[in-house]
Symmetry: D2
Subunit: 228 residues, 4 copies
């Protein structure tokens, strides 16, 4: 199993065409290249169908974008945690603002992730939701104000108090949770600011996937960590 | 592209552990074996993560269990039709009773499937829903009374009038739609009855996936077609 | 029971503050006044909590904005058709674009409405969805392209072919269905155009609820019918 | 505004026919009678359409079964908190296991309830979900293992450790939250056990609504509190 260590740069491929199919594999290889060069941990969260080819091609940690809190019985069109694990993924996003779950399902999904040896990364919109999620003992929480997702305005700049406040409250509730900072991360300064505010990594999507030169931007992100 | 012809046996792998990961590839190979031996068209609908490995390993037509009616933009945890197509699938289930969609989304999903060159198989609970779905011009409709799914009671036996009535109404609305018969299909007689009632194939899940010897049962199903 | 006849002006109160509580009752009284003066049938679709007081205060036909396809058993926070009927409503909107249902639920809801003696008004986004809905035999279909809802651009002007095409196809499938025209209706000309294109009424919301003088606008709407 | 005090017996009318329309008003009057006789606070949570008539008829505190976290803008078929408040309700259930919400919506709904002066009663399935909900600062939490709802097996008997464990953890996170015990409450002993385990009331449905003599059972419940 590919080891995950912090600080972590986690790249959400979403359903962008630049990160689908062969292009998804290529982007994962770019992530691997930067990770090997800088020794910074870079994870990728591709679409479900691309998980197996990517796990075959690279050795960076792969995350699903979602799993369902189900057992291997009769469900159609659902994401069985075991299928994700067997394909080679090491973790999963849970409750992304574009794929929200009920509170009961977040609880059940974190438990299923633990049972199937998948790292759980719960996405949360704000401080109070992050704190509630922390009670459920996921491995990581990614704070992402949804109104900043896809913008070039990082939460660390627009709402630094959301990040530092979240770190403080979450750590008080559950000191073991790793906190990532998401939404609007596009420059090396954004990554540095996120770490300075107490998080242990970033969740990034369009900032990398839509970049003209993803290698260059990822390298900058990684260097802002190694040179911090 | 793998050609699909009728009569069609379409096997829904659901999220059964017997049809996940390596076992999914093996089951697809069994389907291929029977298809080659009998020249009956056998399609498989595995979980998303297993689509790529299965398309790599076999030449039977592969269907997704669901797609979302989305364009390649910012969605997390969704199923982009293009990703399914690029992975090698030739079609998709839509609106399975375990993954139901709004009417507007069924309409949009059929259109997206057409745009991405995927065959659309809309699942419907009863005659009136099948007729409504036929208006939206999918390639196929699978009639599956949800109360019979997972039982060993075939709709062709329990409710033959649902099957023949559906065939009649759907063909009147849209003579181009291929009609499959689902729910409770477990024996060669069930397959024969389905064809006799005017359908052009079956949608089957536990009857194959949970069989002690899937090869034997699939062979019986295929022979009930070739010897009809 | 308050009789519904066509042409029908049906006013959706939505959750606008101008149409909540006492203001809802007042707006329903305005509708009644115009209806009595012009003999045009004007229905109102208030929020659930306002149905009983409105039915008590006025004699215009009252519609719910939604019902659930449930029987009187164990559900919390759902809308039991019988409760709506007992409160005095004569019908219900179904599948408004702001409250969409699965295809199976639309089918079941229309059947429950029939059982509880409620008129069913299914909302549909476009021609193909209207045609699919017509198969399910509701009493009325309201065609409302969602992109025009809340604008001042009537579908009868922006997309007249959607309206006339819908009328043609729906009537071919089910000549008994009454077709209403919705989205962007704000002037008497919009109402006249809707009728000219073959519909038998309008579904209107902000055009009345947000009007400076709802009485004046409703009167204009009604007169565009009586003077046609 | 009708004052709510603890210990509280809160009766969820659900969509039972025994608690719809005129029968709902009658059941609320029964609750009022017992409350006046025993001075125990008894709240009722009827269907939306019955809120206004009940608030008109009785003086016991009335709760909605659900509200949506929306502002008074363009929504159809939704529950505007302001409409509930204006109709006379003093609070609302949130996230009942039969009407579950996303974590973000629970957070937003609690905030909207506070803004509109409605007491928030969040329903939770188990200890960890109750603890997560407590972080969001509702007024009350009702612990209801969904597998016991509608049974005659009280959680206080089947899983006393769920109740006492929940009380302990929730009070540590947020000592101001009132904890109710739900699911399977049918006898005076169940009520007494719930209070003994540290809760401040019960959330009950079929135990009262489906009782042959709701007055008698409610009186027993209330006396198990006054005589404790």
């Amino acid at each position: 199993m590919t080891k995950v260590h912090t600080p972590l740069i986690l790249v959400n491929f979403k359903t962008y065409s630049e990160a689908t199919g062969k292009k998804a594999v290529k982007l994962a290889q770019t992530a691997e290249k930067v990770s090997l060069e800088t020794e910074v941990c870079i994870g990728v969260a591709p679409q479900f169908v691309d998980i197996a080819p990517i796990c075959h091609a690279v050795s960076v940690p792969v995350f699903a974008q979602h799993i369902d809190p189900i057992a291997p019985v009769s469900f159609t069109g659902h994401i069985l945690p075991e299928s994700i694990r067997e394909a080679g993924a090491v973790g999963t996003l849970i409750n992304h603002s574009e794929r929200q779950l009920t509170l009961a399902d977040i609880d059940a999904t974190i438990k299923r992730a633990r049972e199937t040896d998948l790292l759980s990364v719960v996405c949360a919109n704000n401080t109070s939701i992050s704190a509630a999620a922390a009670v459920l003992k996921p491995n990581m929480i990614a704070v992402e104000p949804p109104e900043l997702i896809g913008t070039r305005i990082p939460v660390s700049k627009a709402k630094p108090e959301v990040v530092s406040g979240t770190v403080e409250i979450v750590k008080r509730i559950n000191p073991d949770v790793v906190i990532l900072c998401g939404a609007g991360i596009t420059t090396r300064e954004d990554v540095a600011a996120a770490l300075r505010l107490g998080t242990e990594g970033v969740l990034v999507a369009s900032g990398i996937v839509k970049a003209k030169d993803p290698y260059k931007v990822l390298l900058e992100f990684a260097e802002s960590i190694t040179k911090a």
